[in-house]
Symmetry: none
């Protein structure tokens, strides 16, 4: 299985510092031995509005020079713009869908096979059924756009942060309702831990719908430093013939963090158990 | 002194839930007895892109109906867009300046006398001198735009979150360099606590430059529940004839929070010491 | 609003000791000033199999003598018998439905207007849709039986313990699907706290569907000893004209507990804020 | 010495989730390398009421196919039915005795040599002498039934949960009073730790009466993760020629647990010290 590392902890999202230019992050992750990088579409790295055509080409060149693949991409929900696909405000929903499409375009340009989909959240006053309908409709529109780029959209249950697609079965239901061949599933051990659920239950339940995975201990700590059973998780992933990236999404929830240390601890531990 | 409450904890910034429509927040804060509201320009409340002219008028009407003043406004830095006025990326700096101007326009429409200014942060690879220069230049451009609306721009030192304008004297230096009559200062007891500094030192040092203040205990808890000396702070504010709003900016750093409870605890405590 | 106290902490469910005969519990709660008692159908109190007709009459007499109403009743899920209405085993589902019916019969005999419904949980290998369908079917059968006794069945979201009916909207959906006039909702502040949700959101969202409520701090501690905003909750209940019982369901999760102390602390605090 | 693993953590007793079908548990424990399984008579695994004759045969076949022995069985005390053999309610005592007999029948069918006996607890209002007499009488009746199946009944002191048979000597006294050849002893390091007692003291004091043992750290954590001296315990067991199963009874007291991880950690540690 290949290893990837998410860029949030090196970016200004959601905490502002420390922050590094994307060039620096690409070189550092490659040097640490990662196969892939998961690029979040946030400043100062890859907010679509701020990327000129030249800059996009330069980044692609730098990735190639460092032999680092883009495993996946995702927008940054929750800033001023919200980008809640289940918002009661139609302008916010439209902006969110547009953001997903633009990140899908970046996926195409940088050869990322995967776009992650955060399905939004219920604001007080909106029913779950209505929020779900808006989220599903947005997913369908995003997936159809991504299909043109051969990009798979992976729905992520985000129980720790949201209140709409919380569980493994919520994810499956949404995928089945969308009914698109390029809509699949992912999950994050941080969120299964938040729900006090067993990660391997997700692996076996999702089966071949599972195309991506985030690894994290509680508190967004590196795999191997906490209580989550990654040995069992790797076994279960092999049982279902998972061939995606094991992607660390860690460290970004606080300022007091050394990103390189997070990346180094993770890869050292995972290589020891793979 | 008048009391105001910041809307982050009721919004999707920075954590996504709980989130309430702005109408609900206005009614609740008014019922709890607040004089003012500090409106953050974040979804689902007041992200400028999502507000139609009709919606802006409706909010103004609702504020008036509930006898609730807008004490102040501020953008939401750190989402995907970053809005770092000290970013090395000129597109991000331009977007940040534009965002401040649009929030200044909202201040004008909703009679907010005050716009808060977060002065940005240094990204790895940018010198402090360069970051400072960009931040100062942005401040001047924002202030000149705000001046046309009779809006005062208050520079806030944000040591806990950033690395550029950290201290009382950084703030004074930036204000003096800007040299605009509508540029003033504010500070937040959360940030002075982070630096192990004494809040009243800021009051006496800033003097009549001080036009706004944020009250918070450590961990963004309500005033009166922690270790900060708000009795002494109120005395110091009286000593310098402060006549702005005491504004709670609390609770927003985590999901596990009851916003109304935060607002009730704060006003109950502050009325007991004023 | 009337006050009631749940009997688990005085029973052998789920922890075995301390345990008291039901007669003792009735006398103690009445003496402490409670209006009602919520009787769990567990040994040594009210497991239906163990109650003779004479014993049932004696308990009714004792309740009347002590001027203590039965606010509500509920079975004990999760022992050897499970009583999971969403179990894949048809014998377990049938036993669970039968248990609910027998507790409904006890409600009738002891004048309890309310029967609580724990909607079961997903076992590995059962899809959520299937578990939901079984739970809904069981609810309908239980409700129809209870209707003959003029007993209302209140669905409780139990996020901390289960994985099927977790949220406010899950509850509403299940109620609406059942479509019976004697099916309503309740919630427990212990479970909303587990989900990091705001109790008053449940009150306003459930509105006149809300017929019962459990009060508890985190860790099943008495109201007023923790962080939950019961002042705000009582205000919200008044806003929606709630006229049911405020029922403490506390202390039962551990052996190291003094049940009378739990009951006394709760009533003292609640009378101080009502 | 052979290693076995108790099923509670995979069942709905006492916490409802996570829960797995017994088939799944048998396959997983066998794959992890266990010699035996201790099957608790709780849903969804082996509540006697819910097991058809066909299902019993299928489970036997699955055990044989996976080369997994049943080391032992036990009922689940403390649910709604209580199953307290020392209850003041004769119906509850009769139900408890009947449950033990039915689990003994399952032992016979699945070749389990051992049935565990939880000796009940004193409810307020019952004297210890009376509770003891009821418990002893029940034990005699259960043992005589089990004798017909060549099943040994092992009395377990459960100090952490009960208040009747708390100590090593309570256990010996009860066994001697029963005076049946198929009544023996067991103990659990979780309970000796609760009483601040030394596990090897139990081994030497019980001697050849000791036929079964439960291994657990404090908080029902896996052996090897806490403070208990399992190296010394294994030596003592060898000293007394113990030839039963070392059985893990762990993890079941809470929801936040990964059962496979518990099972894997335990067997890895125990194989390292045996």
């Amino acid at each position: 299985m290949k290893l990837s590392f998410n860029t949030w902890v090196y970016s200004s999202f959601p905490v502002w510092v420390p922050a590094y230019p994307l060039d620096e992050v690409i070189r550092r992750l490659a040097r640490l031995g990662y196969d892939g990088i998961e690029i979040g579409a946030a400043a100062p790295h890859a907010y679509p509005d701020y990327l000129t055509a030249e800059r996009r080409r330069d980044i692609k060149q730098l990735l190639d020079d460092n032999n680092l693949a883009v495993s996946s991409m995702l927008p940054a929900p929750g800033g001023g713009a919200g980008f809640n696909v289940a918002s009661a405000n139609p302008a916010e929903r439209a902006a969110a869908i547009d953001m997903y499409k633009r990140v899908a375009d970046l996926c195409a340009e940088w050869n990322s096979p995967t776009l992650l989909y955060v399905a939004g959240w219920q604001v007080f006053g909106t029913s779950r059924a209505q929020a779900w309908a808006w989220s599903r409709s947005a997913l369908e529109e995003v997936a159809d756009h991504a299909a043109g780029h051969n990009v798979t959209v992976c729905v992520e249950p985000t129980s720790a942060d949201s209140n709409l697609i919380d569980s493994c079965d919520d994810t499956i239901t949404l995928i089945e309702e969308a009914g698109r061949p390029n809509v699949a599933a992912m999950f994050d051990t941080f969120h299964t831990h938040y729900r006090n659920e067993v990660p391997t239950d997700y692996v076996y339940r999702l089966g071949d719908r599972l195309k991506h995975i985030h690894l994290s201990e509680a508190d967004r700590n590196p795999p191997g430093t906490g209580s989550i059973d990654f040995v069992g998780l790797v076994q279960a992933l092999r049982d279902v013939n998972f061939d995606g990236y094991l992607t660390m999404e860690i460290g970004f929830s606080r300022r007091a963090v050394d990103p390189d240390d997070m990346a180094r601890q993770s890869i050292t531990y995972l290589k020891s158990i793979l």
